[in-house]
Each structure stands twice: as C-alpha cells, then as structure tokens.
C-alpha cells in the first residue's frame, strides 16, 4: 500500500468491488502468496550485503541481525539510511527500525516514527504504541482495545498474573519478547556467522583482474582475523553483489582447515571465470564456514627446503577436489563385505576415520575389477570345475592353470526373502591362460545339469 494508493482512499482488506467503485480505472491483480514469499526470500538474499543473518518475517517483513556490522556503515542510523535509499531506488517503499529485540523493532518499524531504540531503552518508546504493535493473535488484538487497553503502556502496568489469566500466555509472551525479558528464536536465512567480512567499492568494479584482487583482499582480511583468534576454516564463500542486486558466489573447500590467504585465494581464483559482473560489482563479502581451532605451526628452520607431508599434500588434494569434483579424488579403504564390488569404500584422502578390518591377504583379488562383469563363453565339461577354455572379446583363451572355487554368496540379509535365490551365488575361479594372462571369472548360480551355466569375467590380475 503506497502513498499514491492511500491518497485515492484505498486500504488493505478493502473489497475489490468497493475499490473499483472508488477508482474506476483500477487494475486488479490476484493475490499471489507464493510469489510474495519468493520475493521476500529474494529480498532477504539481497539484504545479505548488510549482514549475513537475515530472517524473512512473512508476510511483509525482514529481520536482520546487525550486531557487530553497523560500524561498516558508520553507525546504525547510516545503515538504515543506506538501506532505505537502496530499497527506494529499486522501487520498494520500506520502513525500518533498530532495537534490542525483534519485537521492539517490529513495533517501531510499523507503528512509530522512532527509528532507533537505544540499548535497553525500548520500553518508553513502546508505551505510546497501540497493542497491535505486539504481534498479537487476532482474538487478543480485538479484545484488548474493547477493554480499554489500547496502548502498550497500559498493558505494561497491569499485574502479569491477571493478564495471563484473562488473555492466555500469548500476550505476556509477546510483551516480554518486545521488552527483551525472554528469548525469541529466529529462522535465519542461514546461520549467523561471525566469520564475515565485507568490502564496498566507491566505484563498481568489473574487470576480471579487479575481481581477483578483491577476492584476494577480502580473503586476507578474514584470514587475518582467523589468525588472531587461532582458527582456520574449511570452506570459504566469496559473494559478489552486483549493482542490480544480483548475488554471485564463488566458493572453495579445503580438506584441512586453513587460514593461508594466498592458498585460499588461489583456490577461489579459477571460480571467478563464471562471475558475470554485469554493470559492475559494488560489494564483495566473504563467509567462512566450518571454522575450527588450528594450532599455529612452528616454522621449520629449513622451511624453504622441506615441509611436513601434510602441508604439501593438503593443497594438492584441495586443488584436485576443487577442480575435478569430490568423487574423483579418493583414498580407498576396506569395507566389511565379502561381495567384491562392495568391499571397497572411498573416502576423502585426508579425512580421519576408523579403520575396518583389512582385506584378507589369503584371498587374491584382481588389480582391475570391471564395473559390470563381461559375459564369456566358457567350456566347462566337469561340474563344479573351472572351464578348460573360454572366449572373451572374441579371443579364445585355453586355461592352463586354475584355482578355486571361492564361493561368494549374495548378502541375503539385506534383501526381502523372496529375492534370495541360489542363482545369485557366484563361484569365482582364478585362471591363467597359456600366454600367462590371469583372469577372475565366475559361474553365476549353482551347477545344474539341464540349464546352460553362465560364466562371467569380473576382473584381471596382472
């Protein structure tokens, strides 16, 4: 509801027919609650330029935790001015207030001209406001004025026990929340992190080298703070805020927590290619996640020549994981399963984990295991004996030596009982052909005289 509409005598909740009667040329659009929520979310994302802790407060509000960030704008009033001006520039009329509590800020923004409540001083400012400013449910909001309790100040003077008895716990709770006597939980757009830095530019930047330098500068800022507090982080997200309000993020993950700005900037640099500066970037912010304490390392005396194994390896793993993707860099470990394709588990190379029992050295395993076993035509005249020859990829291999079978059953305890069948048993043989090639083949199912048996090649020993 903007001023132009109010001047014409329109108000929220008015019937459409009444409104058209009042303003004949009125364009009427259907309410779109989903669209409103989305727009509010988008506005919340945009507000991250001010503080990382933004909570959408449907249907028409945003709550921001500006603790510790107002100095970046030169004070609370300056922050509000900046916010209002920018919203207005984007065609969004808004009212704002800063107070100790969410309740007080909510009330001041909507019902008062006071914009900033001094710390602990929200009480006197709230007193003259109507009770509706307490975010009450509809019933109480209607009933209180009927009893003459129109102002919050009146309500504050009443004994709490009576209030609770007459109107339920809701009214007292809202009053306490507004005055800061009780806690209030907010669902922030993302958890508030103290590991946040921001650089604003007088002139928007857009050249790729400027973006890289800005990313490096802001990383150095945050890393200096991490260094002071003896912490490191495993994920860094640099967000570029464009003039038109769009936000683009370049992120980098590390396998070991770090606060080495050069290293982190190097990981972020390749991600900058996809950042489209549009008409220019005016603000860059950085957030560190997975912050954990790391102990400062003693520099070795021969530091230029040698570094600890982890120091060299961790950056390599980070480079590879960031470039290729997490699933493409791994360290294999044993997994307790006798089914060959399930006996290996892949983990991030530097992660700490408890070790399972190692693979049984008495059961030889091939160096190459095919993802899908390849069908072979095998000739095995004797039941439960390895084949005497087989054809794989069009070539005939005469079996010279063989050993087995190693019978590997399915993990029947993981399946419904109806799916368990003896055909799923595999009898593995290790066979060697005349040229010395060593193969891992298996017969699917038990030997059955009248059914042709199926043979598969599952892997290759070198």
């Amino acid at each position: 509801m903007d001023e132009a509409a109010a001047a014409l005598g329109l108000y929220p909740g008015q019937k459409a027919a009444d409104a058209t009667a009042l303003v004949p040329g009125l364009t009427i659009a259907d309410a779109d609650p989903d669209g409103d929520v989305e727009a509010l979310q988008a506005l919340g994302d945009w507000c991250v330029r001010y503080s990382p802790a933004v909570a959408p407060d449907a249907p028409d509000g945003l709550v921001m935790d500006v603790t510790g960030v107002t100095h970046l704008w030169g004070g609370e009033a300056a922050l509000l001015d900046d916010l209002i001006a920018r919203l207005a520039a984007n065609g969004i009329p808004a009212k704002t207030a800063i107070a100790d509590t969410v309740g007080a800020a909510w009330a001041l923004a909507r019902f008062s001209d006071e914009r900033i409540a001094p710390p602990g001083g929200q009480g006197p400012l709230l007193e003259p406001l109507p009770v509706a400013a307490l975010r009450l449910d509809e019933e109480s909001a209607a009933q209180l004025p009927r009893l003459g309790l129109t102002r919050i100040g009146r309500l504050m003077k009443l004994p709490r026990a009576q209030l609770t008895r007459r109107f339920g716990a809701g009214v007292v709770l809202r009053l306490d929340q507004a005055l800061g006597r009780t806690e209030e939980a907010l669902a922030f757009r993302r958890p508030a992190t103290p590991w946040f830095e921001r650089i604003a530019f007088a002139d928007p930047i857009s050249a790729p080298e400027d973006l890289a330098r800005a990313a490096a500068d802001i990383t150095a800022l945050l890393c200096a703070r991490l260094e002071r507090e003896g912490k490191g982080a495993r994920r860094f997200e640099v967000a570029f805020h464009r003039l038109d309000g769009k936000v683009q993020v370049a992120a980098a993950g590390l396998s070991l927590a770090s606060r080495n700005p050069a290293r982190i900037a190097k990981l972020i640099a390749p991600r900058l290619d996809v950042i489209d500066p549009g008409f220019g970037i005016e603000v860059v912010t950085i957030v560190a996640e997975a912050v954990e304490p790391i102990s400062p390392r003693q520099q070795r005396l021969d530091a230029d020549r040698e570094a600890a194994a982890e120091e060299g390896l961790a950056p390599l793993i980070d480079r590879l994981t960031n470039r290729l993707g997490e699933e493409r860099v791994w360290r294999a470990g044993p997994f307790e399963s006798h089914v060959p394709e399930r006996s290996v588990v892949r983990r991030p190379p530097l992660s700490q984990h408890e070790t399972a029992r190692p693979w049984d050295p008495e059961r030889p395993r091939p160096v190459r295991l095919f993802r899908r076993p390849e069908a072979i035509e095998a000739m095995a005249p004797v039941p439960d004996d390895p084949p005497i020859q087989f054809r794989w990829r069009g070539r005939l291999h005469r079996v010279r030596r063989a050993e087995g079978p190693e019978r590997i059953g399915e993990e029947w305890w993981k399946k419904p009982i109806d799916d368990v069948a003896p055909d799923h048993v595999r009898d593995y043989y290790r066979v060697e052909d005349e040229a010395g090639g060593r193969f891992w083949i298996f017969r699917a199912g038990l030997y059955c005289a009248d059914v042709p048996t199926k043979w598969w090649l599952h892997g290759l020993f070198g």
Partner: protein
Amino acid sequence: MPSSRNDRLAGLKVRIAALEAGTRTAGAVLPFGDPRVDECLPGGGLGLGRWHEFTGEGVEVETAAAAASFVAALARPLAARGQIVWVVRRDDLFAPGLAGLGLPPERVIGVCARDEAEALMVLEDALATVGVVAAVGEVEGVDLTAGRRLQLACERQGATGLVIRRRPYGGVSRRSVGSAAASRWKISPAPSEPLPGEPGLGAPRWRVELERTRGGRAGGWTMELNEASHGAHPFRVVCDLADRGLAPEEPFRRAG
C-alpha cells in the same frame, strides 16, 4: 677469430653444464636387487626423480592389467617413504588387488581424470608436491612437450613418475610419438609356475622388456613377484632356461 669463437663456445658449454647440474637430482635409484637387471640401468637401478614409461600390447593396450600390477609391485619400496598418487581415466582400479601386490591403501590416493589432458595435468601437479613419492598415470601417450613438463615436475621434489600407456576405452591408436621418458618398458603377463606339489597358480610373473633407457642397455627378463616378507626387492628374476619349464615360446615373440 676462430680461437675466440672456440673460447666462447667452451665458456657457454661450461655454463650450460652448470645450469644442468643445478636441475638434476643426484642419481638416486631404486635397484631391482639383481645384477642382471641393474647393470642395464644407469646408476644401477630405476632412476628416481625421473619418469618411466610402461607399455603393453594386444588386449593389454586397453586393460593394462599386467603393467598396472607390475608398476604397483615396483612402487612397493617407495610407498614406505610417502604417498603414491594413481591417476586413471577409466575407473576400474581395484584397491584390494593393489594391497595384494604390496601397496597399502593408506598410501595410495586415487584420482579419476575426465580426459587425457586432465590426467597429464594432475600427474604433473602431483609429481611436484611435497610428500608424493611417486605418481602413476594411465595415459594414452606423452608427447615431447608433456614429457619435458613431467620431467621438470619430477625434479622439483625428486618424485618418480610411472606412466602406464593405456587406451582405456580402446579405439584407434594415436600416432606413436617420440618420448622423453628416462626408460621405456614393455610388460606382458607370463605363465606362473607354482611350487612343486602345490595346486593352482604360482606367484604372478611378468615378461619384462627394457626397450630403451638413457645411458643404459636394453634387456629382457621374466620376473616373479617376491612376497613382501622375502626381502626388500619386489621382484625375483626367473632364470629363463631353468625356471620357465614348458611354457610356450610363441607368446613372447615380438610382434614387430
């Protein structure tokens, strides 16, 4: 005039030699522990801080199973000193198999590259990293430029490159190009010989042809895997006449 030119030439040669000496690592080698092999190799073993090439033929060009198992066993003594990065393009390397050849899983980092260029890049990156003692790369081929880059990466920290030539998805062969590898080996499987009276298969054997090595001689041997408990060297050279038994001669004949 000619004399001053000769002087300048001589001076340049001295400077070049000094520059080259700076980049070369002192000749650390990984001996095979058998004089028949070691005397063919410069320095008496596989040169560390260099890169070596392993090829196969026939179906091995696509699977490279013999080369992979040979390289895994070869890298066994190195695994005690640091990490081994194994770069593949086709994701069929099976860690229990490597463990069976003596490469413990906690020493091997697997990387699956999307294409040839990426595999070479990862290989180069890994070789230049502190803490990586060897990097194994399964690639189709290494041209002269890439080979030179690998060599420079090897010299950074003295890591050893082990390049397995493999076309992981088959297809037409690339034109064979000259290579800057310190040595070039051809690995094919060889029939195993179980101990007398024992059933089944014996320890894995390979037919190993040293095709080319800088500053050494070519040679060919049949090698058998030495169990880790039987000494530091991963291979035992099998005497061709006595140990080979009745294995047919035919498969070992060179294709030409």
